[in-house]
Symmetry: C2
Subunit: 212 residues, 2 copies
DNA sequence: CTGTGTGAATCAATTCACAGCT
DNA sequence: AGCTGTGAATTGATTCACACAG
């Protein structure tokens, strides 16, 4: 069932960038914007912008350009950001705690509605004004909390088991900070953020650049 | 200068995964490993593994497979991980503080050797046993600290200016957590970690999956 | 004349298929 | 026979170039 991939994933990633740049441009008073200008703001090419947008429809006027605020709104709709998305954080260690307090999420319309951990020593504590609950409660909580996405910030050793809990709770999206490839059913979407791997790649390219 | 990358970036990203899986396999007593087995552990195809490795040489024996520990060692050499890499964190807010205490970095051979901020209220504080210094001191500190990579955890509004400081200090790699495309000279390598964009992409794919 | 939208061409990455070592 | 290493084929993404609308 998970084979519907007519939209290239890199396009979707760029749409987020476009939306952010458009919002900023619109806020600073720009009403019309060309693919040229938008591309310059985002660090891509104008034809890339137009091609990416063309997967979803045609939003500009030939010879004129795009309405900055209008296109921004369209992108928010395409990305599913018109309604506030509800997220829960699973794993309230060092990283999870920081993420719970990360202002960037709220600022972009992601509301942290729950914090979960399996360590009894952490359950019950208040973190950023939210009480940490036991992961056992995730499934029942989700019936009324309607969690869209879980941010998984548990250690590698606990990641697969925690992911299984999340899937069992009926949650469809996981942002995974553990350095493991999670095995989940096709209808669940996972994106990985592997900070250590990023450092290792950097390490490689830096060394590579030195070889000249 | 940043001319030919004959090595595909996706291959490098996978090499990190291979290294991690190999280390785990070797630790658990496996001495020989086939591309088939390694691929299964990493969630890729065997020919992908072999093609990725082939960019750097030939490390296996036909009809036999690879020596797990030996290949792991080769990968560490390729990725530039034989020597400990020294990192500094710039921006000691919520996120920077969490990253300073993130055990995963040390565990993978990245040593946090400095914390920097431009906010006088934060300078001088001890965070994870390291005293926060003013970003003005980065350039002189780097002459003896030999920082390989900076983790940039400042707000979007401060990111470009902070990056300029990092570049001026002679540091060649930046792991950027701010949702901005940094403008840096060609000889400096940047990798972006945009957690909000990741959530937005998830939001899209989750909505997409629901359309059935 | 300007700037979008899009098929066609190019470039990059993945997968296939098989030759060659053990 | 078993498994690697690698050109060839294929799939996918980006760039080009131009028709078309304002």
């Amino acid at each position: 069932m998970g084979q519907k991939r007519q939209i290239p994933a890199p396009s979707v990633e760029r749409l987020c960038r476009y939306e952010r740049c458009l919002a900023k441009a619109a806020r600073s008073g720009m009403s019309r914007i060309s693919s040229q200008e938008l591309a310059a703001l985002c660090g891509v090419t104008p034809e890339q912008v137009r091609k990416d947008l063309s997967h979803f429809g045609s939003f500009g006027r030939r010879g004129v350009g795009y309405d900055a605020a209008g296109l921004c709104e369209e992108l928010r709709r395409i990305l599913g950001l018109e309604r506030k998305r509800r997220i829960a954080i699973v794993g309230i260690g060092n990283l999870g705690t920081a993420l719970a307090g990360y202002a960037g999420f709220e600022a972009r319309g992601f509301e942290v509605v729950g914090l979960y951990d399996n360590n009894p020593a952490r359950v019950g504590h208040l973190v950023q004004g939210i009480r940490v609950r036991h992961i056992d409660q995730l499934a029942t909580d989700n019936q009324r909390a309607q969690i869209d996405i879980v941010v998984l910030a548990v250690p590698e050793s606990a990641a697969q088991a925690a992911a299984a809990r999340v899937v069992a709770a009926g949650i469809k999206g996981i942002l995974n900070f553990a350095p493991t490839r999670l095995k989940v059913p096709d209808h669940v979407v996972v994106r990985d953020v592997d900070m250590t791997a990023e450092l290792e790649c950097l390490s490689f390219w830096v060394a590579q650049a030195e070889e000249d």
